[in-house]
Amino acid sequence: MRIVVASGKGGTGKTTVATSLALTAGDSVRFMDCDVEAPNAALFLNPKLDTRKEVGIQLPVVDEALCTHCGKCAEVCEFHAIAVIGKKILVFPELCHGCGSCTLVCPEKAISERLDVMGVLESGMTPSGMDFAQGVMNVGEPMAVPIIRELKKWTPAHPFEIEIRDAPPGASCPVVETMRNADFILLVTEPTPFGLHDLKQVVGITHELGIPSGVIINRDGIGNNAVEAYCDEAGLPILLRIPMERRFAEAIASGRTLVDTALEYRAAFETLLQVITARVAK
């Protein structure tokens, strides 16, 4: 079973929920931090990261000796990442999506490919025996999606029953890539106008992907009850409420997980997992 924890708005508590859910889910869990621009779950789960792999996209490399400057490669590139100017051929790595179309169409077979490193995948075990993996995008790189895609394909060291993916904020392509082929999406929001607005954005994605979802209201008690009203109207189940308590905020700030701070939440997260399992089985 693959569960994605997403939110739309940043800072609503995705990592708080994902790490606590993972810690209560037993031994057979794989945790995947897909927020490759700002990966934070390791700060709470403290894995020993001992395996590493560089990832990125395949960039074209043109063999000038074979190239006839016919311009076919530039013609098929939708991203203007390769250009033929007179007898010169230029590749713009920052525009390339690594689709391989130029390589395929070159009549002289003059194009080969090399890995353009955009980030790394890292994995290891946490002290509690959980299999942990994360992607970390290099500073200055624009594209998160290829790193997330590779992370999802990365074969885990141990078999597992439950995969928990911590998603990036927002509602564009990196979030979609994180959600693809998931079984359930947990949407963490806060009961404020910002939280509601951005929740609606991600709900739109879950509908397009046809993946069942449920809502967690974090910092319950602040703002207003518009999130509740929306969930009611949209038929979205509210699966858990975590009240606004300063001691939670302080503990999480210092790098502690919610279930380690407030033991009573262990039972709540166990129930949450049972509810998700039942909904997925339906």
Partner: protein, 297 residues
């Protein structure tokens, strides 16, 4: 003309609340009628929720294209699926179908299809808006859920804001930035005079602040740092200030944790306008007083 961009790395640290307060404060200062606002967080565009602007114009934003298979001529050879690196082509019941959400728009399949059955179709990926707020013109947008090319839309929002400022001789563009460090952030940072980083004194906030500071530096933009929710974890706030001192980055103030910010959001107002005497309002006003000279430097 100066461009101030508000960024954070980590989401939810308070970028939009600070931006809205700055818009209000600027309107009360020498910058009155000199400001253009831009919301560059196009997949979670929240600035309009606090500024409550009057919508003047809207346009469709054409994003990337997606491939579509003509099933009448498709011979179901599967070549398209073999060349697709984005796992966007599904095969079920003898048919090959493109998943528009997964399609990257590269058109590799178009050129490999032996029966020429695949074409590219343009998509409306979002909306682009021009509005009038109490504190000046606002350029904003809404990227439809799940769409690509948010960087392109951010660039469009910023370009229009800049042109408006040049057109009307306005001196300051204030940009509410997106979280993260990827393509929309890179688009948002380009051309900025100064970046204000809204940091959070949490282990996650500090980690992500390092990454956004490196990103901003990589693109040659100067940064100053303020600390929001500073009293939640004073050790974290001290760590941020020590790091900034050591690296020659100016810190421009601490904002205390204050639920007035959430109340202002519900009221649809900038916190400094909603309750000027609230601890967060007082702190943000003091930060604004420090950001202005840094911006003009």
């Amino acid at each position: 003309m100066k461009q101030l961009i508000v960024l954070s790395g980590k989401g939810g640290t308070g970028k939009t609340s600070v931006t809205a307060a700055f818009a209000h404060l600027a309107a009360q200062s020498n910058f009155a009628n000199q400001v253009v606002l831009a919301d560059a967080d196009v997949d979670a565009a929240n600035l309009e929720l606090v500024l409550q602007p009057r919508l003047l114009e809207q346009e469709d934003f054409k994003g990337g294209k997606v491939a579509v298979i003509n099933q009448d001529t498709c011979s179901a050879c599967g070549d398209c699926q073999a060349v697709c690196r984005f796992d966007a082509i599904n095969h079920a019941d003898g048919l090959y179908v493109i998943d528009p959400i997964a399609c990257d728009g590269c058109a590799a399949c178009v050129y490999q299809c032996p029966s020429e059955s695949i074409t590219m179709r343009e998509q409306i990926a979002g909306k682009f808006y021009f509005s009038e707020s109490h504190y000046g013109p606002l350029y904003h947008a809404n990227l439809f859920p799940g769409q690509e090319n948010s960087g392109k839309l951010v660039t469009l929002v910023k370009q229009r804001a800049r042109l408006q400022a040049l057109d009307q001789n306005r001196e300051l563009v204030i940009v509410d930035g997106p979280p993260g460090i990827g393509c929309p952030v890179i688009s948002a940072v380009s051309g900025a005079s100064l970046a204000l980083i809204v940091a959070e004194p949490t282990v996650a906030g500090v980690h992500d602040m390092h990454r956004i500071l490196q990103t901003v530096k990589h693109f040659g933009v100067r940064a100053v740092v303020c600390i929001n929710k500073a009293d939640i974890y004073p050790a974290g706030a001290d760590e941020i200030e020590a790091f900034c001192r050591k690296n020659g980055i100016e810190t421009v103030g601490r904002i205390p944790f204050d639920l007035t910010v959430a109340s202002a959001m519900v009221a649809g107002e900038a916190v400094t306008a909603f309750r000027p005497q609230a601890p967060s309002s007082v702190a943000i006003s003091a930060i604004w007083e420090k950001v202005v000279p840094a911006l003009l430097e």
